[in-house]
Symmetry: C2
Subunit: 417 residues, 2 copies
């Protein structure tokens, strides 16, 4: 195990993580509890749609041959032998010279082969009860939705790995998935390091600040489909640290820490990694912020050492933890969705590493334009509240200029809601 | 109360709903349970940030006057009188000719007025213990983050009504909000109507279909911050219907029904509205799909009668129920976020009403382009699974053509995740 620092690219770091990403176990949950989960199997049509010939309109089900010669001037009169509401299984046959009143979505009765809309009948002007005049010649099959016309039994409707939202819920219900196969939610232990940290409920003390990374990370974990488990703040005692880390790994699927990974005097996670003799995946990434982001495997579990800087911690989660959580829950394509956008302002800060800047994109004159959010300088997290993307600025040169095209990684926060 | 149908515009329908929208009660929840809720009060800084003068680097805290004349060739030697880690409240003073080792984020000790980075000292080459050589002249205040430099106590950080995500969690934790004031979640009763409907767990029967709208709506409600309460399917019996509706209104804040609102023979909600003598807000909207969407007030509660057609039910929720749920939870701007996009295909279907087409937008060559999803014709809901927006097509003429600019309402589904 080497603890010196070889910076690797973001893409290489992601590859090293995903190489060990296994899918979670599958469990079956009731339909009403499946929202937000990821499908462990594709959804297929379990029956033809419709599964009975169906009327698309309110009207009369008739035999096309009986309407020969019908016209506005000379309606053909048919005997009304019944009415079929939605949900009825018609228990009669439409014979020669007969018609059945039928509602939208109702099953076509035996004998009938087409549906004439109310508007083309004498429905509202009938002189004799139980008789309807048809004002138009019909063809067999006209206004009948045939069995399987919309979907065939077995048709693939939604791919495995898709997150269940309104559309998926509707399909699952339609096809009788009262129980839904989904991937288990990963349980993620979250631990902050640093003896300078107070809990949110503690009063401030000179020199100390409150832990914010754990709560931010918990929200990111939840929105990425994990269950966050908060383990408070770790003081800078290596023996205690090793013990806490081992306990957390027993109780959860993964540990995310923040802080303690740089090269300072009191970098506890570096010491923990050494004492546990972890399999280090990386401890330096060619990126800003968050170059000290570390990841390791211990037995079959991941330990992420995110930066203690809130902005870097946020970015580290999005670039490295999110793809893993997606893969564990069966999402075929991992990582944040990419798009191109035009830079709305100059970003002239030179950097030897690629930069991932918390930003906001919007459409201006039909074009995607992206702006950094808040003061770029500030270490505080207030600008995360406005970010809907990370802007990727390539290294070298003197930064990028207004009007340049940049790649943008779309965040799921601050979108439509 | 009039039950004839006067079509009103979508905007007018939204106005009539919002005219009655009151904010929910405020409750305080623990920070860890506040994620996804909407803030009932703005978040303000409860202290200066930093609240003590702080070092932005690892280095030595010194007195600028002591560094006069220091250079790479002629470092000034200072006595190291202590070390300050993050979180320490320094209990000593840096006097004339003295220095204190200091870590990033640690408090500047009394007496010192600047910080020199390790790189500009003899840190790694010290010949004498407890002595450090400073290789550069410093100015007072250099590399010191002053009290309140990032945020002042009382600064507005996040507006009321904002949904709590990772950035908001970080800020709440930073400023000691162990309990967070949020709006109560509205409880939404959901009821499907139609004797053709089966429950998802029931086997298919001829002429019948399974209820999918309730499950779709439940997902929409949850993602809009409500608590869905499913009440199953209502059969077409008016007495029972009235009783069920009254029970649901006692147990929830609002009722959403699907189906039973058109002009057919068995439109149960029309009958329920009549018997309860509701205050009808509207029962016809100039839009496709979902022109029969209805809304009413009964005592202080809303009843929404969404269309039984799944696509129309989906759109009806997004246009009319979502803004109300947002307003009840204090969101200042209600409704789906709008943007302009270029149409990627011809949509030549003429319509006398504005159309809201389930669609997907993406960026192509830097421009936002929008495409309808799935077969436009299909009444099935399979295309909702791919939609990330509703495309608004104005009425009249012969539809819109590829390349035309259209307004797009962004949905919070199928975004980054």
């Amino acid at each position: 195990m080497r603890f010196h620092r070889d910076p690797i690219s973001v893409a290489e770091a992601q590859r090293r993580i995903l190489a060990f990403a296994g899918k979670n176990k599958v469990e079956h949950v009731p339909l009403t509890e499946s929202e937000g989960r990821r499908l462990a199997e594709p959804i297929r049509a379990t029956n033809d749609v419709p599964h009975f010939p169906k009327s698309p309109y309110d009207g009369f089900a008739v035999r096309a041959e009986d309407t020969a010669g019908a016209s506005l001037e000379k309606p053909v009169e048919l005997e009304v032998v019944g009415a079929i509401a939605c949900g009825d299984a018609p228990d009669f046959t439409v014979g020669k010279g007969q018609a059945a009143r039928i509602m939208t979505g109702a099953a076509i009765p035996e004998g009938a082969d087409c549906v004439i809309m109310f508007e083309m009948t004498t429905e509202n002007e009938a002189r004799v009860e139980k008789v309807v005049g048809v004002k138009k010649e019909m063809k067999a099959g006209e206004n009948v939705i045939e069995v399987g016309e919309e979907k065939k039994s077995g048709d693939l409707l939604v791919e495995a790995g898709k997150r269940i939202g309104p559309g998926e819920m509707a399909i699952l219900a339609t096809f009788g998935y009262a129980e839904v196969p989904v991937y288990q939610l990963p349980r993620i232990g979250i631990l902050a390091t640093g003896s300078e940290l107070l809990m949110p409920e503690e009063p401030l003390r000179y020199g100390k600040i409150r832990n914010s990374n754990s709560y931010m990370t918990a929200s990111q974990v939840r929105q990425a489909g994990g269950i966050p488990v908060l383990y408070g703040n770790l003081q800078d005692d290596p023996d205690e640290a090793v013990e806490r880390v081992l306990t957390i790994l027993e109780e959860t699927d993964m540990l995310i820490t923040s802080g303690g990974v740089s090269v300072g005097d009191f970098d506890i996670m570096v010491e923990v990694f050494k004492r546990l003799d972890v399999d280090l995946l990386f401890n330096k990434i060619a990126m800003r912020p968050g170059s000290v982001t570390s990841a390791a495997r211990y037995n079959d579990a991941f330990i992420f050492g995110l930066s203690g800087n809130p902005g870097a911690c946020f970015v580290g989660f999005e670039l490295f933890v999110r793809p893993l959580l997606q893969a564990m829950q069966g999402k075929p394509e991992t990582g944040l969705k990419e798009m191109e956008a035009v830079l709305g302002v100059d970003m002239k800060k030179p950097s030897s590493f690629p930069r991932y800047v918390r930003s906001s994109w919007k459409i201006e004159d039909g074009k995607a334009v992206v702006y950094p959010v808040g003061q770029d300088k500030s270490g505080v997290v207030t600008n995360i509240t406005d970010a809907n993307c990370l802007m990727c600025i390539p290294p070298g040169g003197s930064g990028v200029a207004k009007g340049d095209t940049v790649t943008v990684l779309m965040l799921p926060y601050n979108v439509g809601e």
